[in-house]
Amino acid sequence: MLPIRSLLFSCVLAFSALSNAAEVDSQAVIVQYANLVSANYQDSLASSKDMQTKIDAFLAQPSAESLKAAQAAWLEAREWYGQTEAFRFYGGPIDSETGPEGFINGWPLDEAYIDYVKGKPKAGIINSKTPINEAKLRSLNERGGEENIATGWHAIEFLLWGQDFNKDGAGQRSFTDYTTAPNAERRKQYLKLVTDMLVADLASVEKQWRAGEKNYRAQFETKGDDSIKKMLTGLGSLSRGELAGERTEVALDTQNQEDEHSCFSDNTHRDLVNNAKGIQNVWEARYVRRSGEVLEGASLNALVAQKNPSVAEAVSRDIANSVKLAEAVQAPFDREIVGKKDAPGRKRLHVFVESLKAQAKSLVEAAKVLGIKRLNTGV
């Protein structure tokens, strides 16, 4: 770790050496990061509210069209949430001890924990007598195991698409599950409730990153090197442990749809892209907002580059490569993972994993350049 005094010193420099525009100090990088995080969560919250509106409309008048509109809104909202995952893995507002991450994005979920599945028409909370209210669902979430997931993105996804048994497409839940099917009313209540809960949970995180308030962000901006370490920990852990490991290597190993991140909507290929992009956003301190506005500022890239340009270049190159390789992965992911070693889909995923591993290693090097010796990359 850098001693605190060097940080203070660099703050002083920032004020005294305004003419030297090339100089990047860690405090500016931290503030820019907070701006980016805040903007990304605002976009995630706004897009999830749009989804909420579409789901409300679907529940008011269930039809094939209103279901499709709700599904489209879910897909759009995932584009923004996916990028925020680069802000996880260091115990911030999203995944601190009391953070709502488990309620927001828990996966994979045991479908039969929520609703009927093939061969078990009476399974799940919806088809039981369990009261459907927020306190109950929160108590049931992750009860008896991290994957007894009752809430969040993937619960909504399952309720919109249903189980995916199609080789070339997503799940085919019929809107009649919300009209004439057994327990349609309870299913409606459930979908409404978990959607509202997701919006509320995202709002609680967004609030913690808002500028000018007494919140997590205010603390984060005063913590110097510790905050830099957190930023890099998020990038390293998402790169290696989560994206390469949990979300890709496990699926490659099992060749099982159960290990696909968004398995009901067949949207996993976009999860990969958005996660990879989220990492790039943070590294380059650049984020294209939902409005099209572009945020740019002092970056980790520049901070590392002024001490060791070749390490910074390696990170930039690896991250850009991962984004490119993520974009090359084809939908549906559940077909991409199956087959022999040289199946084209498996090869595409394999090079993606290798690139993520390489970027995790270069991020560890970048951390060392900044005096952080043991960067945690999840694995």
Binding site: F89, G91, G144, G145, G245, E246, N256, E258, N376, V379
Partner: protein
């Protein structure tokens, strides 16, 4: 972590003033900041502090770790199912994944109580059953399974009642302990055997297990020799248990009674016993002859977990990193370390080892580690006794559990429940339950001043 010498000097000067008379500070050893050596220690003190792999693993090993992790924490589901890689849960079970009890690779807690009323069935606390002669109950088998798949009856429900025990420290301040009493209700297959013996066991944190496996047998046996030679009434004994993977008896190193000799055996055993997942080592479901519904239930394949996946879960369980110490060089912690030593806690909670060869994971060899255990059985007195023998362990003996990671249980799992059944509500209660061979150590703690008791806890929390 590193502080300037002058800073430490200031602290030391302050502490000498603060601790009059015999107050002594233990020496700080830099290597103790890395309890699992360079290979196995990770610098994370957050919620994931128990969930990270040894930093010394190769990239291929990390892939095995990741896949093993997935099969450790994701739920097994009832067969038949579309989740073909993970079906075969039950018929009887305690949990649907390893992670359900070892939440975040950490420690389980007994059920919550509100106004003296038990709020739920235990999840991470299982009850072992036997009848004299160390035989399983003829109807219920070797442990109680309080869950079952559809169409099969759970064996029964666990009812816990706590009895309060009050006491005093020498300085007059009081403490209270709660002694649990267990009862099994709603029995599905008729009464338990009249001589039934019950032993509750809670899921402990599972960090550093491969390194514990890499401690040479000779070092464990030497602990027993040393304790005898010291003549302080401490007489540790190894448990010897048959190991399905080694094909011979090994020194027991895992489990509250050291009743398992290897992580591999433990893993395959827990898959069958706790989740109802068969493997090549344990090919038959644990359904007793009278449990017809259990015998009839569908299977998830033969075996339900294949050897490759089982090996990955075993590897995962061997390679969870141990967090770096916190504040190990502060005067309070060093004072606590001294007290821990003076009270002779170190005799059983043996601080450090040099690991030996370990063919499965060669990096684990020759590491200096600080697990704080002798891996031996000790008579812990009436208070903790379950009076149920287990292998060579008698009904009063328990294995000294390793203490590494102890201070992070709160952060990871949100509670501070300790001992074999989680009866201790905090670390001091855990200390105060010590009896039998540990009686003298406990008496030493009872005589400590408030400040020293605090320092002792600070030391334990820094582990």
């Amino acid at each position: 972590m590193k502080r300037s010498l002058s800073f430490i000097a200031c602290l030391l000067a302050g502490s000498v003033l603060a601790y009059e008379g015999h107050a002594m500070l233990a020496l700080f050893e830099p290597s103790e900041e890395f309890p699992a050596g360079e290979v196995g220690t990770i610098d994370d003190h957050g919620k994931n502090a128990f969930s990270l792999p040894y930093p010394g693993l190769t990239d291929e090993q990390k892939t095995d770790f990741v896949v093993g992790n997935s099969f450790f924490k994701k739920p097994w589901v009832e067969a038949p199912s579309s989740t073909t890689a993970r079906d075969g849960l039950g018929p009887h079970f305690v949990a649907n994944s390893c992670g359900a009890c070892h939440a975040l690779d950490g420690r389980g807690a007994p059920p919550d109580f509100k106004n003296n009323i038990q709020q739920e069935q235990p999840m991470a606390l299982l009850l072992r059953l036997s009848i004299p002669g160390q035989k399983p109950d003829p109807v219920y088998g070797g442990q109680l399974n309080n869950q079952a798949v559809q169409g099969v009856k759970p064996e029964g429900k666990v009812a816990i009642r706590y009895e309060e025990i009050r006491g005093q420290f020498a300085d007059g301040s009081s403490y209270s302990l709660q002694k649990p009493h267990y009862k099994i209700e709603q029995l599905a297959y008729g009464p338990l055997h009249k001589d039934i013996m019950i032993s509750p066991r809670i899921a402990p944190q599972i960090i550093g297990l491969g390194l514990l496996e890499a401690i040479p047998d000779a070092s464990i046996l030497a602990n027993a020799e040393r304790q005898r030679a010291e003549g302080k009434g401490i007489a540790g004994q190894p448990n010897y248990v048959m190991d399905a993977f080694a094909g011979k008896a090994l020194i027991g190193r895992f489990g509250w009674k050291a009743n398992v000799g290897s992580v591999a055996h433990q893993t395959a055993g827990a898959f069958l016993g706790d989740i109802g997942i068969t493997s090549s080592k344990n090919p038959h479901e644990e359904c007793m002859p009278q449990q017809k519904d259990c015998l009839r239930a569908p299977s998830g394949g033969k075996p339900e977990i294949d050897d490759d996946k089982l090996a990955q879960v075993i590897f995962y369980s061997q390679t969870l990193a141990v967090p770096t110490r916190r504040d190990a060089n502060t005067s309070d912690v060093l004072r606590g370390k001294q007290l821990f030593s003076d009270a002779n806690c170190v005799s059983c909670h043996t601080p450090s080892y040099k690991t030996g060869e370990f063919a499965a994971i060669p990096q684990l060899a020759n590491q200096t580690i600080y697990p704080y255990t002798d891996l031996l059985l000790h008579d812990m007195g009436e208070g903790l006794a379950d009076n149920r023998p287990d292998g060579k362990a008698n009904g009063k003996q328990w294995k000294t559990p390793p203490l590494w990671g102890l201070g992070l249980v709160k952060t990871v799992n949100g509670h501070t429940r300790y001992l074999h059944d989680g009866r201790a509500r905090n670390m001091m209660e855990a200390v105060l339950w010590h009896g039998g061979e540990a009686e003298a150590s406990k008496q030493a703690v009872l005589k400590m001043s408030t400040a020293d008791r605090e320092n002792l806890l600070k030391f334990l929390n820094s582990l």
